[in-house]
């Protein structure tokens, strides 16, 4: 017996309708999970649902425009909040990955509550999936990392939660998204805290710009290589900024620049993963482009770790 997306959709639309008697907002990042949750909730609640997308300043290249387009296509009532300054202020001086995640989780809820009250919503729908609450821990379970939408929530919250995807893994969410006709069904996972957890050390606008450009190069090159048949498209692939400076030489001049790590993994559910065996000429193109096109980076390394012992994201 495999996962039955159609049955799941019918069941969840009914469940959401029962669970949410009034109005709700949905936290929507434009990723597969929250977009799927948004469409399910929208089917259940119609105009009693408002989707809220927050541009945290920690998004990938062109992400906000793309998400806005997706939500328009899906005819989900939505608002886009531009909140980069608030996030950068809250993250100033913070280097601990868990603190970053908690600050971001709290900030999200603050913004959602601000949007919920004029709309009259008492419920917050989230696209939380199984690995989010599993890895967030609690009781017997150890905390691997604070997922912003679970353990990153403030202790006191006015909004009540509704999480229709709690028991699903990414492959099952994708099956649901396909059945709902969602364009972003195959989009690679992107964590809620965004590029903040792909910068080891303090999050600054300059570092975000570096990792954003580097990630765009990783995505373009890997997608092109996969499209040409040179490799299988990994489950997830991105760049990580390392605050490690090393020596380089640029046009007979000494430089002392930062390092970018390239991460690409194969997985089904995100709960275990193997690093992708990317052909060397693809890695070579990525390296040459990043070190030439992204200012401040003179070294690129490739991450060879599986999960476990590592996790997919670096923080």
């Amino acid at each position: 017996m495999m996962f039955d997306a159609k049955a799941f959709i019918a069941e969840q639309v009914g469940t959401i309708r029962k669970a949410v008697p009034g109005k709700a907002i949905i936290a929507c990042s434009g990723g597969v999970d929250s977009t799927t949750a948004a469409v399910l909730a929208s089917r259940a609640l119609g105009d009693r649902l408002l989707a809220v997308y927050v541009d945290t300043g920690l998004m990938r290249k062109d992400e906000t425009a793309d998400v806005s387009k997706t939500l328009n296509e899906l005819a989900v009532q939505h608002r886009i909040l531009l909140a980069a300054d608030e996030f950068f202020d809250a993250l100033r001086g913070i280097t601990d990955p868990e603190r970053k995640r908690i600050i971001i989780g709290n900030k999200f809820i603050e913004l959602f509550e601000r949007e919920a009250s004029p709309f009259g919503a008492e419920y917050l729908v989230q696209g939380t999936i199984a690995p989010d609450w599993i890895e967030s821990g609690g009781q017997l379970r150890d905390r691997i990392k604070t997922h912003h939408n679970v353990a990153g929530l403030p202790e006191r919250m006015k909004l009540r939660l509704c999480e229709p995807l709690r028991d699903l893994y990414k492959d099952e969410v994708r099956a649901t998204a396909r059945a709902l006709g969602i364009r972003v069904a195959e989009r690679q996972p992107f964590p809620g805290p965004g590029l903040a957890v792909r910068i080891v050390g303090e999050v600054t606008p300059e570092r975000v710009a570096i990792v954003r450009e580097a990630s765009a190069i990783v995505e373009t090159e890997i997608q092109a290589a996969a499209a040409s048949g040179a490799m299988v498209l990994p489950w997830q692939y991105f760049a990580v900024f390392l605050p490690v400076q090393t020596v380089g030489v640029h046009g007979d001049l000494r430089v002392y620049g930062h390092t970018v790590a390239v991460r690409a993994v194969h997985s089904v559910d995100g709960m275990s993963a193997t690093y992708s065996k990317i052909p060397h000429d693809v890695l070579d193109r990525i390296s040459v482009r990043i070190t030439n096109e992204v200012k401040g980076v003179n070294r690129v390394v490739y991450d060879l770790s599986n999960k476990p012992p590592a996790t997919i994201e670096w923080e």
């Binding site: 150890d142 709960m271 275990s272 012992p309």
Partner: protein
């Protein structure tokens, strides 16, 4: 068929539930302090893994001991569940000399129904700090890896099985087959 997963706090407890569900089993994740009397009517139990030291700390293993003593149908202990099974039934478990995380290879040296139809060597996924150090009396070791002697064990007479590796993890080869073999035993306990 109804088989529940006892939650000892593992990262992959919910994966065990998913694999069982995909195999058509009626399954639930239940807390490990559930009285054995509430498990009446089940055809089998899976004792999940848990955080470091959980398998060798009886305090954290709730009523797992009760299940091993009084549950009437087959039990599959995984990781912490396997370690606790050894310790509770007279063997021992302790911090491993070489913990294993991620990819490993197991070798089956004692054929068993649990591994029916499987090759003798295959790739598995591990994640453990502790291991079974002394096999309980009445148990047979079935498989090992380079750094861990007891990757699998079973009771000689009762349908009790322990696995150090994680058959529920997507990257483990033949994981679903191992569950299928276990479910056959649940259907037809000897």
């Amino acid at each position: 068929m109804r088989v529940s997963v006892i939650d000892n706090g593992g990262q992959w407890t919910h994966r065990e539930w998913r694999v069982l569900k995909y195999l058509g089993v009626e399954t639930k994740i239940v807390p490990n302090d559930t009285p054995v009397s509430q498990l009446n009517g089940l055809d089998g139990l899976v004792l999940s893994g848990g955080a470091p030291r959980v398998g060798i700390d009886p305090e954290k293993m709730g009523r797992n001991g009760e299940y091993l003593d009084a549950f009437y149908a087959p039990i599959l202990g995984i990781c912490a569940g396997h370690q606790f099974m050894a310790k509770h039934l007279g063997g021992d478990a302790a911090p491993a000399k070489v913990p294993e995380f991620g990819k490993s290879v197991v070798e089956i040296h004692q054929p068993d129904v649990l591994f029916q139809g499987l090759p003798n060597r295959f790739e598995v996924w591990e994640s453990h700090n502790d291991e079974v150090t002394i096999l309980p009396r009445d148990f047979v070791a079935l498989a090992s890896s380079q750094n861990c002697d007891v990757q699998a064990m079973r009771h000689r007479d009762r349908p009790l099985f322990g696995l150090q590796f994680h058959p529920e993890v997507e990257d483990t080869q033949f994981g679903a087959d191992i569950f299928r073999n276990f479910l056959k035993l649940c259907e037809n306990p000897k």
